[in-house]
Amino acid sequence: MSNDTILSVEDIRETLKKMKEGVKQQPGLMKSTYRYLDAVSGYVERVANAKDEGAWVATHGTQQPLEILEAMDVRGVFNEFWGVVSDIARLESVPEAMSVSASLGTPGEVCSFFRNMDGLMHVGKWPRSDMFLYAASVCDNVKAFHTLGRRYGIPSFGLERSFLPYTGHAIEFWKNEYLRLIAFLEEQTGKKMDYDRLKDVVAKSYRLTELHLEIDRLVANVPCPLAPECFSATLVAIRCWPGTQYGIDFLTEVRDELQERVNNGVGAIENERFRVLWSTFTPFFDPKLMGFMQQKYGAVSVADMLSTWRVDENVQANWMLDPDDPLGNLAYRTVLAPGNCQYSTGVDVGTVLSGKCRRFKVDAAIFQNNWGCKTGAGYGPVIKDELMRQVKVPTLTLHSDILDHTFISRAEIEGQMDSFFEMVEASKTYQERRAVA
């Protein structure tokens, strides 16, 4: 079997560099697009250069207190991000890596973030990793970290987090898990945690949260000032650059540009017909789909679940409870944070997203039922029903695979979207909402 199509770290690095240069020539994009691609490629650079720079590398999943890694000079490889960036660089790579995974006996029904990692590890194209870090109450697939760690001789550490994290004993347990994580990292790296540095990193991370929420308020404007090419800017900052000055500078630039666009009444498109919420993730498997939706339907993506802080009118993301207790702050932060807080009940997620629908003036939602995701398969219908019950927002359910573009064709999606947006436009609720606007 040829593995030529499968991207190596070097391939991704080179492709992103070219893309970054390419956007300089493209007219009509947001100014922040270059900076956004810089943040994406900078993350890959950090991973690619880690060995030469004597840094440790940890491949990890969600729910991780990344600030602890930052404070200990451990560079993260977020396995989900690696799948997404592979799709950005070359769509054919992921299906090929997953076919390698299948040849090892890994069933096709498990999550493609992990099947992609499985395949890449087998062909030696996964970033060199000194350790694996993962957490419970994320999804059952995190078991793969232990399994693959054992197979390839990579030490791993799992954080236990109760599914019900807000009780006193559960949050205390979660915080203590961080102490155990730090002990593991100290053992692996031979370095001691510098708690003063951690406080500084945590403070920077909190600033990033504030910037994220400021950007959310700007994006909620009509017309929506955020264009698809920068849609994931906040998520990239929060998930790839937490606790860093780079992350703060990046989001400051994005915020300033959005403010300018709001001041000048500049929207993602001229005629905004539908404001869309992605009630799970955005279409990673088809990076151009959001642009297509804007052009064909006037449907602007204004919000998604993945870049959502667990906030509403009553709960704010003020996770900095005590500046002198960085671990306590982080324990709270990780359960509120984007990409983490959705590991909750469907009613809770539906309620948080309903609040988002109100604030972002959403007309329609799209729920991607990711083939390998049992969480989504189990709570998608509840979220759909809650969005309708609480804010009368209808949902299109797309049965897709989060990374694999061969799972559902663009033509199939287009057919479903044609009838969905037609239905939304004809609905009484939509017409009433538009009349008010």
Binding site: T106, G158, S162
Partner: protein
């Protein structure tokens, strides 16, 4: 082969499924039934509340999906969808409550869908830790105490320690008796088939445990007195997801083979070990349920599970292992590669079956079982 009278009585009491003779008799006295879904729910706490713990499962008849997939999409475990379909069909309308754990995403989502679309008077979710550590025992123990509190509130009566301790004694006795049956299956000619053994284990979670224990004693006595033997050439071990439709096991055993041991929650894990009666009861339960039983698929570190399978295969002197996995079981999916390697290293042949939960054992299973047995024959035959 004569039918076992005690097993026949267990099956009479637990039929029709699920609202059986035993359930109707129980409810007729005004007492409550609490459904539970996975093996991290200590039945002892429900028992101590004077309620009947009842395991929510499918059974030997396949269930037609007619609506379940509107609430739980088809790319999820068919056991979960089967149980939800049964709830939609009002098969579980006799339940007063339902309790589950976040042992896997899908168990948790079944709980949620039930709670959202068809809420019962009592509903509770407990977190089942992935680690087997002292800290995890503390976390789980606190959740179990909270479960007892919530059940006490529902009952409007405190469930005191001494009643939990008493229930532990009852369940320990049941485990002891079930383990005796497993020991008998180590014989060259085991006294029961694999399908019968699972029927016994199913009954344990579907009827009052005191009555079950009496019938277990009768069953063991009957086996000893009758000298019952299953005469089959090959000994098999069954591992993977729970098989509540025993026609699938019967299909395997229709060839010249008998299942002598398993690794299922509905099998040996239900019989394994004893709760420590010298500890405070809730702590003892937390310790037993988390640490006292063999490592299972939901633990991150599956090394112990794979070792357990290998050890049992050797202790029960099996010729081969049948590994069955229900589609969309993420945990078993990630164990596949290492399981295969472990079995190869130990020289134990393995048949892998991908099944849909609840489907009847048909020709497909039989044909594969026959081919596997032929392979075992050639494996065992001396080189000419």
């Amino acid at each position: 082969m004569n039918a076992l009278k005690a097993l026949t009585e267990m099956q009479r009491l637990t039929s029709p499924f699920p609202e059986s003779v035993a359930v109707k008799e129980w409810k007729a006295t005004g007492r409550k039934v609490i459904g539970w879904f996975n093996p991290y729910i200590p039945e002892e706490i429900i028992h101590a509340a004077g309620m009947l713990p009842f395991e929510v499962t499918g059974d030997n008849e396949p269930v037609q999906m007619q609506g379940a997939e509107a609430h739980i999409y088809a790319n999820s475990c068919s056991k979960v969808r089967t149980c939800w379909q049964m709830a939609l069909d009002d098969k579980y309308s006799f339940l007063d409550g339902y309790v589950s754990t976040h042992m896997c995403d899908q168990d948790m989502r079944l709980y949620e869908v039930w709670s959202y679309y068809k809420k019962l008077p009592f509903m509770e979710l407990i977190y089942a830790p992935r680690k087997r550590t002292e800290e995890a025992v503390q976390l789980y123990g606190t959740d179990l105490d909270r479960f007892r509190d919530r059940l006490s509130e529902y009952l409007i009566c405190r469930i005191p320690d001494h009643r939990v301790a008493n229930s532990i004694e009852v369940y320990n006795r049941g485990r002891e008796l079930m383990m005796q049956l497993y020991e008998l299956r180590k014989r060259d000619r085991p006294p029961v088939t694999g399908a019968e053994a699972v029927e016994v284990s199913k009954a344990a979670a579907r009827m009052p445990r005191e009555r079950f224990n009496e019938l277990m004693e009768q069953l063991l006595d009957e086996i000893e007195r009758s000298g019952r033997e299953i005469k089959k050439a090959r000994r098999l071990m069954l591992i993977g997801n729970d098989l509540h439709n025993t026609t699938q096991i019967t299909a395997l055993e229709s060839a010249d083979a008998v299942v002598v041991v398993d690794e299922m929650d509905v099998g040996i894990r239900r019989a394994w070990g004893q709760v420590d009666t010298t500890l405070p009861p809730i702590e003892a339960l937390a310790r037993y349920y988390l640490l006292g039983r063999p490592v299972d698929k939901h633990h991150w570190n599956s090394d112990g599970r794979l070792e357990f399978i290998g050890d049992m295969a050797e202790q029960y002197n099996v010729d081969g292992v049948v590994s069955q996995a229900v589609r969309f079981c993420t945990y078993l999916g990630w164990d596949k590669f290492d399981l295969k390697q472990q079995m190869q290293e130990r020289g134990i042949p393995m048949l892998e079956l991908d099944l849909e939960y609840g489907h009847p054992g048909g020709a497909q299973v039989q044909i594969r079982a026959e081919a596997f047995l032929e392979m075992l024959e050639s494996h065992a035959a001396p080189a000419s």
